[in-house]
Symmetry: D4
Subunit: 249 residues, 8 copies
């Protein structure tokens, strides 16, 4: 952390030269801590409204716990995504209050339940039963960020009348997340039924030429409905995060 | 299920305002049941002539059994594709009459043998011995949908005289399924010998630049015979289903 | 042409050793004519129920006319696809009765209107206005092959209620062709509404990541409706031809 | 248009059986007009809050004008994207009030300036000067949909201090659109500076391995900032439309 | 050129220390001439049995003529491939004896007709009429290198009986070149009929998912016949050159 | 097998109407045996000069043994490629004389050592030590087909002077096989040193952007030396087979 | 430009609180000028040792001239890359001292010849004559940045002895740029002959499966020589720039 | 080894005809040893300034140890990359002084610590914690080659202020290595802050559309900063090696 800058800001606040708002803005632009294998970004929640999230893939349980230790001091919610069962065991062992959601491969640690700060409801749809894990990652993320989330699973386009039972939800949600594999057609159909923003998340479910989710990804990018934007394959976390940002007052 | 709509339809039928044909059409357009992780589509067999099929990949044995339980009440045939041995064991344990076909990774459950409803014979060819599992998935699917199916295996283009022993079958079948890996040339050759529709199914068998079946897929899409249409890589189920639809009276 | 074989067949017919059916089958297996730059396949209409089609791309006007000259002697309908305006001018100049359809880049030459030989109606849908040329290629091909064809254009999934006005046509057609670009979602939705076979034809219409139709192609191959099979990008001719084969009695 | 349904709705409203809100909802779900080469979706502005947009690529000037004619009756703003100069000349000739923006390849027709209905400001950044056309398409679209838009051009990551002069705009905008070609890194950096949603639009600007914008697209999908979602390559229109949906109250 | 080495070799030959065979071998390993924009490889015909070939694409007419000027002094045959009409005009103007073959985009210059030095006949097949230009490039190259070449065009697998009229040629040729676009299936079928080596050359002819010849290329690489090796897309020159190398005594 | 045809041929031979040479040719065009999961091609060695080869991948040990049983009756050499250790154990257990070469994943069964029938020597190079398994597959195949084979390993272009110690072998071999991974540059360099045909076989050895051998494959297809043709990734068998065909007298 | 920061820095220098070195560093981190369609980065030459370069593609002549006008005030050398002849004419008309190099599609403007500041010589090789334009872009760039550059053209691996005449240059250069298309093998071979860093630049020269330079790019990335790093396809400018950075004292 | 050449060189040195410098150059061009499965390149350290490195993937422990045995006689440092734990155990067992670095999958064997021979400091950055293994491979390689290396981990662009704490290091390093996965944006940002050469190494860390590092690779190749060159995915070794070559005096 840039100590001099911090001192200057605090001195300026003390002397009345700098109003509190200005100090918050200044602080949000610079602070982090070097713990050797990571630079923990302590002021991210000031800057972005939500703390740093730990991407579990490729990290050892020790690294994850080490990073969490620093973060739990300063944050009220910490998420760990893409955790293996081993990482989950380490983390839930070391941090009471950490809960492992195996279906979404996530650990959620909360000091307390987050305050509901969203403008409205976030709807999360999955096209098939096999897409549920990705959709659940979005659901848990958006909830941890203080949103009301309404999940609906297995309403793909092969039996499109199932979707039509949810027209009211589609029209009333502030933002909609749609997880789909195979041809990834569901986001287009949902988006055609509303003027609300739709976050499409392709999943890697499907046969050979699904190309590990690439077919769904391309389908969604080429949506003929214009209120669709896309996140990476299987990135339910990103979809939930983006939806929460949109739903912020 | 949309109860109000159902009541209205039934009342209208009762009062004579709606003929039976109209009621069937109306019902075929809307019914499903929400069991949490799935929306079971009960009227699919009315709408499409065949019930919902369970895609096993990415589902737990419990989910598959739960979906089957609802379906067996209403259908006479249920197929489960892409099953692991664990799913197969659960299903065959729970549902007498369910048969596991390991070579095609399928479970077929039948209340009774299906009535033969096809216009003619469906021929299913495989280019090599290694393509048999995909071809068998097509054979079992088409049979479960009430068709006479004639399989012929290992007649690829590297020894094309083997194929010519089946000229009569090729000319007399109503529709032909051809499973091939490597360069995927067999469907073109078969299609050049007849005016019947050929459903080509690429398999993921082959060396490095086979790209997991993509080379065969591209070959089939670029067939210089025009009576060829293609389904996804290793999608024997889809090929059999499509053939059954074409063979329907 | 293999003269000896022909003589033998005819002698056998003359002497009563070979019934007429057998002679037809024998002839359908061997005849062609070498004109230097092409081997014209005269007996294709016997073998496949429809004569050879001339793929115009990469051929000179002289080559196209040369091939047509041989074919018009023996066929009642000749199609030329992917024609440039120059080829079209040459062909319509040289062959009265040849009609140029600029929107589908096709020339259709007919001795007389084809007899209607289909089992039922072929429906042809396009997702957008920009997909019409590909759809029209399918319409003209299927009509030339003796079918009743019902076209419906611009009913894509971004306003899916437009499609629902055609539910009766979808349920009653023997086979349905669906041309769509962008994400290629329309075939899945149509196929989910019926048990009839759907031939999906991706078009190259769309933005950058449409990859010249590849996104639509992948979408269609990964359709979650199983009564869908796919032909090559922009291959309206192939879709119409395949539909005609399926609709044959 | 489904006349019976319309009559029923109107009769129900007349008789007091249906409140006005219910009628609006019902109408938004079904109306369109068939003009042969297009099904004009008249009630899209009811359903989605903004009328149908005409995608100009692959349409003739006559088709564009024909569609516009129906739309101008019912809409207050009509956009035509991807227009050629010929289409632009036809449209601006036939429809006074239509303005051609050559740099964005768009025509904007307005009965009157749209009411400002957004929650806040939309910021639109371009990484380079060459990305301006795509960025301008986003700017014009969002403005036509009734938003305050603040454009900033040529602030790419190769001289990242240029971006830091806009920190206040980045923190205060409701939603940010970022257009970038080459490696597409700018959206990640911008998103790392704020908690607001960022819509990334890759452009096809760059050298060989830019793959026509695919490198930028992949870069954006793989952003390590989670408040980023992506639209198709060069799809400035979609980015502006999505931003407007997010900025809606 | 390494003058010292040349002098040493010649001195050694003069003094009887080095037999003529050794001198040839030594010389074949080192000689070239630097003309600024090219290093002309004068001893390639000693080393490889055939002189350097000029790849015309991306060169100016002046560069091509400049390189030819040096080569014509020392070679008896010079080929220029991928020539534009302008290059062809320059070259045929400057070098009497240079002949332009427009269909193969080649210029062939010969001091005299090459001696026939092959072991047997090279057969060159094309699948369609549109593949003839590529096939002709192979034919002209192999002839210029002193081979008897037998071309057969338009015998693709959609009417495979046409191919069977050439069984004797296929069995008797020393090596066979097969040019095919679309699915590229012809080389596999030909190779299955003989034990001779087949050089497959994919062409860029075909519909969208032909991917500019990539589908045919993959098909050929994945051939289930093992006596097939492949050269680059549209590389008729390389196929003819390789065939000539194989046919060399 | 087409019995009638066989009888006719034999009767004609008996009666002197058909010379023995003609009978051999006739027989080589038609014979196979259907054993359910395979159509064994008994006359392949007549037609192609070498018997059918069993591609082990995706077959069960029982299937491989079943096919071998039929083949060993009629052939003097049988190769099984891509065998797992289980298949190898089954085959070597059941067929004395079958030898398992683990490094090449092959089983070679021989009634007796093959007669040396080649025109000259086949040289087989590998670029690195890691490419040896693929190179060995080529060596064993060519030897089993009756050729003298000279292997040289680990002479890649990063230390190109190592290659130059083998100039005499390169110049004197009838045909050269070169296996290389990574950038696949070795075949070009070798081919530049000789006029002999070079069969390039890309291997899947390398870092990430090697794309499982695709980078090497593309490199070889784009070789600037024209006496190079390419087989599939890791297809050492095909390279050895092709080399043997070229080396045949 | 951030005026306050500038004033503070200058005041601090004036008062002796900040030494000159510190001021330079401070200034190099922040200055630019907003001219509407561009943010000209005036202090880039302080920060990076070389001024901003104008990427001409996708800019109008007016935009290029406008940017140049600001830059010529402050820089001694300005490069414009990827210029069309129209841009070149505008620029050379407006700025005396600007020179257009058509072969490299570059304009170079210099107040005076740059001082030679490199540690040694930069060698630039091209594999073929067709690669010269890309190589020349590297040569001109490195020269404009004050380096001695030695170009050698047309020494590709198909006649590798031509390269060996330049062994001394290869061993003595401080850094080597190698431009090559087709299989892109030359950088590996050059790098194997020296311990100096090699910058490889793939060119888009070649046949179909060269994939517009992608084959060469992959080849270079997979080089088995470790002293190779790669820049984008046809990016001669980047290669020259990188070489100049490496050659800086 | 070419014995005659060696003798000649030594004789010439002995007789005073050849100065020592000339002898070193001559020897550096030719020496290797054939040990059957490898051609060990003994004079590589003369030619390139660093000995041969053993690429462990695809080699057996025996092969690695065999190669090392020859190398340890002649080299002072030997690196083995991509080692499995089995290989590591064999090597460290057999060669005292060999150290296994599990995080970088490398074994480093040194006779003694290398002399520091670099011009300055090499900085190595990683974007995330998950990229550390690749970055460590670069660190260890450059250190083994005699350089001072300064590593900084987890400073990616999602919190770019963390990077700015290292501005002095960035400006003062002679060369900078940057390892990054996901979108690979970090090298562009770093390169924009300095005029020093940046070696970018993409890692395979990330979600689905990261394509195993390909997205990062493309991002880096398309960097808008020109002082960036790229090595293969996960190739930390190559990045460190290239940096060491650049840092050499």
């Amino acid at each position: 952390m840039d100590l001099a800058a911090l001192k200057q800001i605090l001195a300026d606040v003390a002397s009345g030269k700098l109003p509190v708002d200005g100090a918050v803005k200044g602080l949000s632009r610079m602070s982090y801590e070097d713990i050797g294998y990571a630079h923990v970004d302590h002021h991210r929640s000031l800057r972005k409204g939500f703390g740093e999230v730990i991407f579990g893939a490729g990290k050892t349980p020790e690294q994850v716990c080490g990073i969490m230790e620093r973060m739990c001091d300063q944050e009220t919610v910490v998420l760990v995504t893409r955790v293996t069962p081993e990482i989950a065991a380490s983390v839930t062992g070391a941090f009471p209050g950490a809960v492992y959601h195996a279906d979404a491969r996530m650990v959620v640690w909360q000091k307390q339940a987050p305050e509901n700060t969203g403008r409205g409801t976030i709807a999360v749809f999955s096209a098939g039963t096999s897409d549920i894990p990705v959709a659940m990652e979005a659901v848990l993320t958006a909830r941890a960020m203080g949103n009301t989330v309404e999940p609906v699973f297995d309403v793909g386009v092969a039996g499109i009348h199932r979707l039509f039972g949810y027209r009211d939800l589609i029209e009333e949600a502030t933002v909609i997340v749609v997880a789909a594999g195979m041809e990834g057609a569901l986001p287009s159909v949902v988006a055609g039924m509303t003027g609300r923003p739709v976050i499409a998340v392709p999943t890697s479910i499907g046969y050979g030429a699904g190309l590990g989710g690439f077919a769904a990804l391309l389908g969604m990018l080429n949506s003929c409905s214009s209120n669709v934007a896309v996140v990476n394959i299987d990135n339910g976390f990103g979809a939930g995060y983006m939806a929460a940002c949109i739903n912020r007052k």
